[in-house]
Amino acid sequence: MIDKFIPSRDEQGIFETFSDLALCTLAITLVMLSLLATNIGQRINIQISENQFNMDSAPLRSYFCISETLRDNSALVHFLDADVVDKLTAYKDTLTQSRIVTLPAGRTMTLGNFLLLAPAIVPGIDQNGLSTLSPLTDLWKADVISPQNEKFKINLSASQSAIKDLFPIRHLDESLKRSRIYIESLVKEYAGKEKYYVVIGHAAYPLPEAIEDGSLEWLRSFESGTADIYYLGDLTNYKNDYVNKRHQFFIEQGYIECAMSYKDFKDQENLKSKINNINNIFINDSFFPLIKHSDAWNNYINEQLIADPDPPTWFYKEFLVPLGFDRMVMDIPEVK
């Protein structure tokens, strides 16, 4: 009788199998859900880099060219919009009427002034794999008309060697795709008032004057969603024994030669005039310590990037926003 209420051995086996199956399914589902949740969390937790800025703009390429006077070989650097030049070179018919490309004053500077900035510039490549800053080719031949009617002639080979010599100084690896401009901040006191500066390479631009008079206009050549401004930190505070914060770094890190070169550079009289008269690059014997000692300078940049400093509030208001670099860059590792 009792046997009737006790399930047979076979019936008991079926029940156990079913419960095992259900438990197994539940366990797998839970594991998958947890993995999915983790992944979503990772996706949502993309970090926004607070010291890296760009603008919401289409990738822009620029042609870099050097023109020289016949009189004294003084050289100018021009940043040309690649889209404009490419359209002109695409026209293959015989040209009997000149086409005029007007270049704003902010896109032309002396070679010396450009070399001041060059250490802080790292050209990247655009979405088509083309360098965002390419030397002008002989496909486009143009006469340079200067405001003083002084004759300048484009020196293509100088343009090519300038790009080739200056910008292999990419302190990161070759996988770098986005253009970079390294900028530091500086605050000085004049008559009890704080004066703000942005320092790019060897040039410290006072704000807001540099923005208002177009001194930073050349940055327009890097107006692109793929050109980032990297904030390296503030240069205001350093030990009094040093010329400045960079000098302090070079000494402390053992880049003595670089530090001496830097101090000598800073101590020169009529420095601006000398810089304006520079008409060659000479990487290994450069007038500019940050070019001559690129290893020390790159190390400096790396250290600052690791420190990951946040820019001061005025940096946004006085510099980034007026220029349009008002978008913080999402720190997506695969999109450097």
Binding site: V101, L103, T108, T110, S146, A210, K266
Partner: protein, 376 residues
């Protein structure tokens, strides 16, 4: 008895006298001239004068003498005793036929004696057959010293036409065969549909096709071939058209039987082709147009003038170019835009081409950055 014999004798004598007188007569055959040979049954029996006895029957002789017509003679015993035959000298036997050019064939040995119109010295009658294509054969016995005119009868399907031309003497030829058949005036028998060509020097060829309704006499008026004289500028030369050989200089006269084309050439002038026909006027003056020389001047000078594509450089401007026809030339000079122009005979004598300097784009600097910065 004696009287009886006498009566018998007389009566017999009366009866036989004619017989005696006739059968016993001597014959003498004489001819003028004498010494004609006498043949009897192809055998020579003597010469005239010839005396012989013949008492009965007939004898047939043939008298032959060189230069005289043979004469056949039959002598009957009852005929005259003396025969004096006058021999006829051999003269011409003339045979005319319509049409002419008929073959005369002797029947006994099939030898062709000649073609009509024919004159033969016959010393005896000859049996001949007249033969001509398109006509029925015509047997005929030609007697010496006779003149014959025979109208040949055309065969069935043939038509006999007497062709006359002005002037006469035109050669008649079958156009399809080309053989000369006769000369006008002439009776020609030919199959219907045959086309004849009449040619006479200095006259244009004429044609006539025989058909069923063709009249018996056809008159063809030959039109003289016109002479055309081509004249042009002094020194011009005449050539056959389409690259033909040189025929001569002007003025050039030629008989124009049919439409012909000539090319007149003179250096420095366009060649001109002129077509003349028998209807053309006798004197033609061909006006030649001078080939224009175009002077190509460029501004600035010194440009290379070449055929288009610069495969052949013509020279350096300023340059004179023969503009015989429309042509394209390319003008190029370093630093200037290449120009392609078309020149032709109608272009002005001097063509000035302004070369536009090659343009270079201009990079206009609005200024050089006067940056506000401090050296750091």
């Amino acid at each position: 008895m004696k009287k009886f014999f006498k009566i018998i004798f007389v009566r017999l004598g009366v009866l036989f006298l004619p017989i005696i007188f006739s059968g016993c007569a001597s014959f003498e055959l004489e001819t003028f001239p004498e010494k004609a040979e006498i043949y009897e049954a192809e055998e020579k029996i003597g010469e005239t004068p010839y005396r012989f006895e013949q008492f009965s029957g007939e004898r047939k002789f043939t008298l032959k003498k060189s230069g005289y017509v043979e004469k056949e003679l039959t002598i009957s015993s009852l005929g005259e005793k003396d025969s004096n035959i006058k021999l006829e000298k051999v003269k011409k036997t003339t045979l005319n036929t319509v049409p002419t050019d008929v073959r005369v064939i002797r029947t006994r040995d099939s030898v062709e004696l000649g073609r009509t119109s024919l004159s033969l010295p016959l010393f005896k009658p000859e049996v001949v057959v007249l033969e001509k294509e398109g006509y029925k054969s015509y047997p005929l016995t030609l007697e010496p010293n006779q003149t014959y005119r025979i109208d040949m009868e055309p065969l069935e399907g043939f038509k006999s036409v007497y062709f006359l031309t002005t002037p006469s003497g035109a050669e008649i030829s079958d156009r399809s065969v080309g053989d000369i058949i006769s000369k006008t005036p002439s009776l020609v028998s030919a199959q219907e549909g045959t086309e004849f060509e009449f040619n006479l020097k200095g006259y244009q060829p004429s044609f006539y096709m025989i058909n069923k309704r063709s009249p018996d006499r056809v008159f063809v008026e030959l039109i003289p071939v016109p002479k055309v004289t081509i004249d042009s500028l002094f020194g011009a030369e005449i050539f056959g058209a389409a690259g033909g050989e040189k025929l001569g200089g002007v003025p050039y006269t030629e008989l124009i039987k049919e439409v012909r084309a000539f090319e007149i050439k003179k250096s420095g002038y366009y060649p001109k082709t002129v077509t003349v026909s028998p209807e053309s006027p006798s004197d033609i003056f061909v006006k030649l147009e001078p080939i224009p020389i175009k002077r190509i001047v460029t501004s600035p000078e010194g440009a290379i003038v070449a055929r288009i594509g610069q495969n052949e450089v013509l020279g350096i401007a300023p340059i004179n170019i023969l503009a015989g026809s429309e042509r394209l030339i390319e003008i190029s000079l370093d630093g200037y835009a290449k120009r392609v122009i078309g020149i032709g005979p109608d272009s002005p004598d001097e063509i000035t081409i302004e070369l536009q300097p090659l343009a270079k784009d201009r990079l206009v600097l609005e200024g050089i950055q006067n940056a506000t910065f401090e050296i750091y």
